[in-house]
Amino acid sequence: MIKWQQATTHRLRLLVWILVDIATPMLMIIIFSSIYTHPDLVIRGYSYSSLVTYYLLTVVIGIFIETHVDEDLEELIRSGDLANYLLKPISLIAARFVNEIAWKAFKFLLYLPLLVLLFGVLKDKFTFNLPLRMLPVLIPSLLLASLLFFLIRYCLGLLSLFFTDVHGLSNLQSALIRFGSGQLIPIAFFPDLLQTINRWLPFQYLLAFPIAIAQNQTRSSDLLWGFAGQVFYVSVFLWLQSWLIKKGLRQFEAVGR
């Protein structure tokens, strides 16, 4: 409730953020219409219709997985307000995660009218044929992707305990995520070498993997490796955040408190 109240205090600001979020996917749909010079063209397994679906799914799935917990953490650490959490009998990561869940529930409601509009405008251009039996596969992949994204950003935020300025690292990570997760262009369009390198990184499990499930493009082996990858990286970043906070709190001074 508190998060919802905070979020709706400045409504125009919210609307602007929504428009920022959809800018890139919409531009990519427009640009690809000039690449797909005739309706039957298929490039690396993507027709124009499946590509439009892909970018619409990046918007929808992005609502559930994207987080800016690193900025919140950076602010908490810089202002010294982190001390408030340390004094309370609650886990910082649990508190932030619950905060995120509240925000995402509300965020989806906010985006709903825009999504309806987008899907309405593009209804002749996209195809969505996910069988119902794949829903029990899609939902856990989204949950894991959301948790993984949260942990990656959380670890980045914790770096503020060690460095005065993590702006560069934050942007580097954002660029890697935008590229490696398939948010900018589908991973299938990468050269083979880049695809091989990307396979070993956590980013594809954020967006590309859930989208592949949603577009019914996965085989059983893909699902197995995909979930194994998500679970593996969630474990890695869970360990990393506990190591970072243990090391970082030794030098945290709560400046100003």
Binding site: L169, N171, F189
Partner: protein, 263 residues
């Protein structure tokens, strides 16, 4: 004019001194700019590789185009991003009063906070990419073509700045809308990331006639590639000047309704 130029150069010097005092911030910004630039450039080249270029632009053309686009984007960030962000802050905090009391043009005062030496370095990287592409692909633009390309880039910067300024004027009416700058920057840099010819149908009408953002980077690149399109170049010049005039008019209209936030 000389007075304003002197003041601007002085503020530029102070900005550089501030950036170099906190060198971690400078290197951090450089990493940030480089990573974003590389990601965007890679995306354009990957798309270009899918179907032998984009709308008649070959991979070689796209490399030059990317150089122009990077030069434009980072000059935009360097010249205007910090200014517009602080403009919002000044209005919100009431500090705008101090700007209005100074014996200088207030639009000039809100627009002269250059931001981030790292953005200038990144813009230089775009310039070097253009130079490399010109040499490597045997393009031979003459001095006049280069001057026209620079002039058109300046017109593109004027258009983008005017849009940023007009969007920033919302701060006089609404609180906490500083993210409108990010929206304008996203759309401006996003649309100018691809050549005009990549836009078709409704998008072409919008980005060519209504708001020629697609011309900002396309026309300078076309001139360097010896494919000058006089009508689109004139269109960019006229619309930039027109929107610039409108932005200035709206700025002064907005000031009339400014009541301060207690200073």
């Amino acid at each position: 004019m000389a007075k304003y130029l002197n003041i601007y150069l002085h503020i530029l010097k102070l900005s550089f001194m501030r950036d170099l005092t906190y060198r971690t911030g400078f290197y951090s910004g450089l990493v940030a700019a480089a990573s974003q630039g590389v990601a965007q450039a890679a995306a354009i080249l990957l798309i270009g590789s899918l179907n032998d270029g984009v709308a008649g632009w070959t991979q070689a053309d796209l490399i030059l185009f990317i150089g122009v686009q990077q030069l434009f984007v980072y000059l935009l960030f360097f010249l205007f991003y910090r200014s517009m962000a602080w403009f919002h802050h000044d209005i919100f905090s009431g500090n705008f009063d101090y700007i209005l009391t100074k014996p200088l043009d207030p639009q000039f005062m809100v627009s002269i906070r250059p931001g981030g030496l790292h953005n200038l370095v990144s813009a230089l990287a775009g310039f070097f990419l253009i130079t490399w592409a010109v040499i490597h692909f045997g393009l031979r633009p003459n001095a006049v073509q280069v001057l026209i390309a620079v002039f058109l880039l300046a017109c593109g910067l004027l258009l983008s700045y005017s849009l940023l300024l007009m969007a920033s004027l919302l701060a006089f009416k609404f609180e906490r809308v500083e993210n409108i700058i990010d929206l304008v920057i996203d759309w401006t840099t996003g649309v100018s990331r691809f050549p005009l010819q990549a836009y078709q149908n409704v998008a072409r009408v919008v980005f060519l006639f209504l708001l020629p953002l697609a011309l900002i980077t396309t026309t300078p690149a076309q001139i360097l590639l010896n494919r000058l399109n006089l009508s689109t170049a004139l269109q960019l010049i006229l619309i930039s000047l027109g929107v610039g005039g409108v932005a200035r008019r709206l700025f002064y209209l907005a000031i009339r309704s400014y009541t301060s936030a207690s200073s």
